[in-house]
Each structure stands twice: as structure tokens, then as C-alpha cells.
């Protein structure tokens, strides 16, 4: 038990990821306000992006641009650019999804005059 706790505390990035992910998921499941649901969804997306960034950290590494063309390439001194590019793409996807979600929220509000899920469901009946 103590060992497991110590192992978790040695990986604070994983712990942070789990907390943000579950927090977002909790908001998505429990809140009735549609905008709050969107905020929860955005937290979930951000937590995954955070995870992707945190596993690609390399201490003492530099930007992935060749320092010299004559010396043999030492991969160990360069940061891996791939996870960062993935992160960038994932952020763009997240922003687009949130944009569509907000547009839908706006349309729902204009139509039903409310953003509360229960009130809207009552009007739908």
C-alpha cells in the first residue's frame, strides 16, 4: 500500500492527468447545464494533451535542429518533436469540437430559451 502510494507520488504528472481527466468526466456526467458539460469535455481533452506532453519531456535536451552538419547526429541531445506536433494537432481538433459545441449550445438557447438539460427535456416532451 505504502509502496504503491510512493510509486504514484514519484510520477506527479500521471497523478495530475488522472485528476484532471476524472474531474472533467465528473462534470460531464453530473452537471445539467450544457455549457458546463462542454467545459467538462474540454477538461477531458486537455488532460489527454497534458499526458502526451508530459511523457515526452526530456531533461537537458535542446530543440530538434541539427547543431552541426559535420558531426555525427546524437539523438540523445535533441527533444523528440513528434509528441509536440501531435499535441498541436490534438489542440486544433479540440478547439474545433468546442466551437461546434458552443454553436449548438447557442442554437439550443435561441430555440428553447434555456441551457438546462432538464428544462429542455421537459419542453421536448
Amino acid at each position: 500500500m505504502v509502496d504503491a502510494l510512493l510509486a504514484i507520488l514519484q510520477r506527479p504528472n500521471f497523478l495530475t492527468f488522472v485528476i484532471i481527466f476524472l474531474w472533467g468526466f465528473y462534470i460531464m456526467v453530473t452537471r445539467y447545464n450544457l455549457v458546463k458539460k462542454l467545459i467538462g469535455m474540454y477538461l477531458v481533452q486537455t488532460s489527454v494533451i497534458f499526458f502526451l506532453v508530459s511523457i515526452s519531456v526530456k531533461k537537458g535536451a535542446t530543440v530538434p535542429v541539427l547543431l552541426s552538419t559535420s558531426a555525427p547526429v546524437q539523438a540523445a541531445i535533441y527533444a523528440n518533436p513528434l509528441p509536440h506536433v501531435l499535441t498541436l494537432t490534438a489542440i486544433v481538433v479540440g478547439v474545433a469540437t468546442t466551437g461546434v459545441g458552443l454553436a449548438l449550445c447557442g442554437a439550443i438557447y435561441r430555440k428553447y430559451g434555456s441551457l438546462d438539460e432538464e428544462e429542455i427535456l421537459e419542453k421536448l416532451e
Binding site: F25, M28, L34, K37, L38, M41, V44, Q45, V48, F51, L52, I55, L82, P83, L86, T89, A90, V93, A96, T97, V100, G101, A103, L104, C105, A107, I108, K111, I120, L124
Partner: protein, 489 residues
């Protein structure tokens, strides 16, 4: 030139989609013609591509010359090429249908509407060809975002259904991305053909097992596998009449294709994790989906709702087929996937015609117009034969090969599930026909106008395709056996 065909297939709809808002700025009515022309060109190119793949083997397309494992790779093998022909033909039919049913009050936004449809088609092309796990994620999301917007076009209840779809779909996509990053952290690669060499030695790692579970749950939400199906019936029922055929026939099936790719092309399908064979797990999921989906369909009165639940149960039958781990089951499953896409498109065309032409939404109303609508009733009979799986339709031969595969694997629970789901399908179509042919005292004043040509065309082509797929099932299954099997099966 011929090895560029996969890229051309993707760029055609993408380029048309991006240029459309500019080209159609002044001339709105061009947008429909441009979309139809693009999809017609796609049909030709996809047939060329299939011909090319059959005769010269699969194409591995490395973008801008960066080869694996550095660059992004697309794989145009037999399976993807067959699916692409299906996708472009059904996309074209869906567009023809859209021409006479698209929401009238769109005004200038009709241009964006067609842009979104083309974007959806190009993203689905990308999913079918992707040989890279992250590439797959991006295309899944492009397809999903276009579907949310297209469902929302109908307004009213559709907005709320689209919002629920968005919340669940994004959760699925996030889980998929989480799984991909787990696998990337362990193997250091995203390419499917590169990963397949590294994964078998790493299966004792909890990160790999966890990553695979996250990926499968994410994709299961995307393809509406029971118990993650709750978004689908509402979203497809309240979507505009013109959009639900394209969505129901293509989006879930292409997500299923991505799942097949990961099971057979990234993982070696015969592996067991902690002594549990993954194919057994997959076939249990399929069994549940096939039976539960069909049972839920039995309770529906709304036409589109009924067909949507029917589609959910058929996803289960396809999964039962591909999870048998032998050639017969796999080719039967893929053949059934082709059939199911055509049947779903046909059924939602039918629901669209019933509503747009006769104002019918539920099966009770259907009974009142039955005799005045020969096209509708005729198409419904053919599609019901296909859904139940009676010869000579494609549905029968698909189920036949799936059951043969299950018997070969000695998996009698799967056989029972397919049969039970068939019986339940029979039951809900009996309910529909009982409504149609019952002597109804309250005659319905159907607006008796001539059915537009596009309605006759779409209903006729899908009904004919169901029969033709059945009659030519032998050669299609042989083609799948020769060219579309995964390595090592």
C-alpha cells in the same frame, strides 16, 4: 500515375469542399452540381483504384516521400479499396437524394451544407486508407465534427441530439487518443506496420493492455456498439431526412473498419492477453450487440428509430463474423458490412421518402398509405428480405458465411446469436407489414403527387443492389478471400 490514386481519391472531395465557399459565392445553385460531379469522379477513380489493387497488389503511399517509420503512410489494400467503392457509390446516391430533400430554409448556407458533406466523405476516405494511428484519430474527428454540424442543420430536437452525440463522440475520441499515446509511449512509433513487429513482445506491459482497452472503448463509442450506442438512435432519427442515409450507412461502418484494422493489422489477432484470446472478447461484444440491438428495435414505432436500432444489431453481426478468426468468417463479416451499408442507406432513403412525400413518420401511419405508394412498399419488401436475410438477397449470403465461419471455429454461441437476431429482425418487420397490409378503416389522404425521379432512383438502385449483391455473392466473397484478408489469417 496509378500509385497516386489513393491520394487523388482523398484530394478530390477535400479540394472541392475547400474551394466551394469561394466558387459558389455568387452562384449558390452550383454547389449541388459540383458535389455530384465530385462524387461521380470519385466513383470512377475508386473503381480504377480497386482494379489497380487487384491486378498489381496493394499500394503503400508515403506522403511527400517520407518513408516509414518517419513519415505518414497510407495503405490502399484490397479491403480499403472495396470499402472506398462502397463509400463513393453510397455517397453519390446520398447526394442525389439530398438534391430534392435538403432543408428548404437554408438559403445561402446551402453552400456550407454541401461543403460539410464533401468534408465528411473526404474524412471517411482518410479513415479507410490511414496506415497510421494518429492519422486515424484526426480523420475520425474531422468526420465526427462534420456529422455533428450536419445533424444540427435540422434544428429543433436535432440540436439536442447533436449535442449529446458531440459530448459522447468527443469522449470517445479522447479515449482513443489516450490509448494511442500509451502505445506511442511504449513502442515509440505510430505506424501500424511498424507497430505490429514491436507489440507481440510487449503484451505483458500494463501500458499496452490499458492503451488497447482505451482505444477499443473510444472506437466502440464511434461505431455505436452496445452498450455505447445511446447517442445513435436520437441523432439519426432527428437528423435531416437528406443526411441520415449518408451517416447511417457510412460513419459507423468506417469506424468499424478502423477497429478491424487495429485488431488484425496492428495486433496479431490470434494473441491472448493474460490467457484470454482477444477474439473471444470481441465476439462476446458482437453477440451482445446483435441480440440487444434487435430486441430494442422491437419496441420502436418510429420508422427511423426502428431502422437505427436495426443498424445497431447489424454492427454486432458484422463483429461476430470478423471475430471468428478464420477466413470464412472474416470474408463473410466484410461482405455483410457491404450489404449492411447498402441496406441502411436504402432504409433511411425509404424513411426520407415516406416523410417528404407522404408525411409518414411512424409505422402506424405507414399502414394508411401502403397501397397508394407502390415504390415505397416495393422497396420496403426488398429491404426487409435483406435485413431478415432471406435468399436471394445479400443479407442471406453474408449471414450464411458468418455462420459457416462460426461453425468452423466451433463457436456455437455466435451461431445462436446470429439466428436469434435474425428471428428478432423477422419479428419487427412482421410488425411493420402487419401495419401495412391490415385493412385500415381510416384512409389517409396522402398528397398524391408524382414521386420525384431522385426518390425512384435511390430506392430502385439500393433495392437492386441488395439483390445483385446476393446473386454475385460468390464472386465478391472470392475477391475478398483473394485480396482483402489480413496477413496471417
Amino acid at each position: 500515375m496509378s500509385h497516386q490514386l489513393p491520394a487523388i481519391l482523398f484530394l478530390l472531395p477535400l479540394f472541392a469542399a475547400i474551394s466551394m465557399p469561394v466558387v459558389c459565392l455568387k452562384h449558390r445553385h452550383w454547389s449541388y452540381r459540383i458535389s455530384v460531379a465530385t462524387l461521380a469522379a470519385m466513383v470512377l477513380v475508386s473503381i480504377l483504384n480497386l482494379h489497380n489493387v487487384i491486378h498489381h497488389g496493394e499500394i503503400r503511399y508515403a506522403f511527400s516521400g517520407w518513408t516509414v517509420p518517419l513519415g505518414i503512410e497510407w495503405v490502399a489494400d484490397g479491403l480499403a479499396s472495396v470499402i472506398l467503392v462502397l463509400l463513393s457509390v453510397l455517397g453519390l446516391l446520398g447526394l442525389v437524394f439530398t438534391g430534392s430533400t435538403s432543408p428548404k430554409d437554408l438559403g445561402g448556407r446551402i453552400v456550407h451544407y454541401y461543403t460539410l458533406i464533401l468534408l465528411l466523405v473526404s474524412a471517411l476516405t482518410g479513415i479507410a486508407f490511414a496506415g497510421d494511428l494518429f492519422n486515424l484519430f484526426v480523420f475520425l474527428e474531422v468526420a465526427a465534427i462534420s456529422s455533428y454540424a450536419l445533424i444540427g442543420v435540422a434544428g429543433g430536437r436535432a440540436l439536442f441530439a447533436a449535442f449529446r452525440y458531440l459530448i459522447l463522440g468527443t469522449l470517445g475520441a479522447s479515449l482513443y487518443l489516450l490509448g494511442v499515446s500509451y502505445l506511442y509511449a511504449v513502442t515509440g512509433t505510430l505506424n501500424m506496420s511498424d507497430m505490429v513487429d514491436k507489440l507481440p513482445f510487449l503484451l505483458s506491459s500494463k501500458a499496452v493492455v490499458g492503451g488497447l482497452i482505451f482505444m477499443f472503448i473510444g472506437l466502440a463509442i464511434k461505431m455505436a456498439l452496445v452498450p455505447f450506442h445511446s447517442w445513435l438512435p436520437e441523432a439519426y432519427t432527428y437528423a435531416p431526412e437528406s443526411i441520415s442515409p449518408i451517416l447511417s450507412s457510412l460513419v459507423t461502418k468506417v469506424a468499424l473498419l478502423a477497429w478491424i484494422r487495429i485488431i488484425y493489422w496492428v495486433l496479431n489477432a490470434s494473441i491472448a492477453i493474460n490467457d484470454i484470446p482477444i477474439l473471444l472478447l470481441v465476439s462476446v461484444l458482437g453477440t451482445l450487440a446483435a441480440v440487444i440491438g434487435a430486441s430494442l428495435a422491437l419496441a420502436q414505432r418510429d420508422l427511423k428509430m426502428l431502422f437505427a436500432y436495426g443498424g445497431i444489431s447489424h454492427i454486432g453481426i458484422i463483429i461476430i463474423g470478423i471475430s471468428q478468426g478464420n477466413q470464412t468468417g472474416f470474408s463473410g463479416g466484410v461482405f455483410y458490412l457491404l450489404n449492411d451499408a447498402v441496406m441502411q442507406a436504402g432504409l433511411f432513403f425509404l424513411a426520407g421518402v415516406a416523410f417528404c412525400q407522404y408525411g409518414v413518420r411512424t409505422i402506424d401511419d405507414l399502414g394508411r398509405v401502403g397501397k397508394q405508394a407502390p415504390w415505397l412498399t416495393g422497396a420496403l419488401i426488398v429491404m426487409a428480405l435483406g435485413m431478415i436475410g432471406l435468399p436471394p438477397t445479400g443479407g442471406f449470403f453474408g449471414k450464411w458465411y458468418i455462420i459457416l465461419g462460426a461453425l468452423e471455429a466451433g463457436n456455437y454461441v455466435s451461431v445462436a446469436a446470429v439466428l436469434l437476431s435474425t428471428l428478432l429482425t423477422l419479428a419487427y418487420f412482421v410488425k411493420v407489414f402487419e401495419c401495412i397490409f391490415r385493412q385500415s378503416s381510416t384512409q389517409f389522404d396522402a398528397p398524391s403527387g408524382e414521386i420525384p425521379f431522385s426518390f425512384k432512383l435511390t430506392l430502385g438502385v439500393t433495392s437492386a443492389a441488395i439483390i445483385v449483391l446476393g446473386l454475385s455473392s460468390g464472386s465478391i466473397v472470392q475477391l475478398l478471400l483473394d485480396h482483402a484478408l489480413p496477413p496471417g489469417l
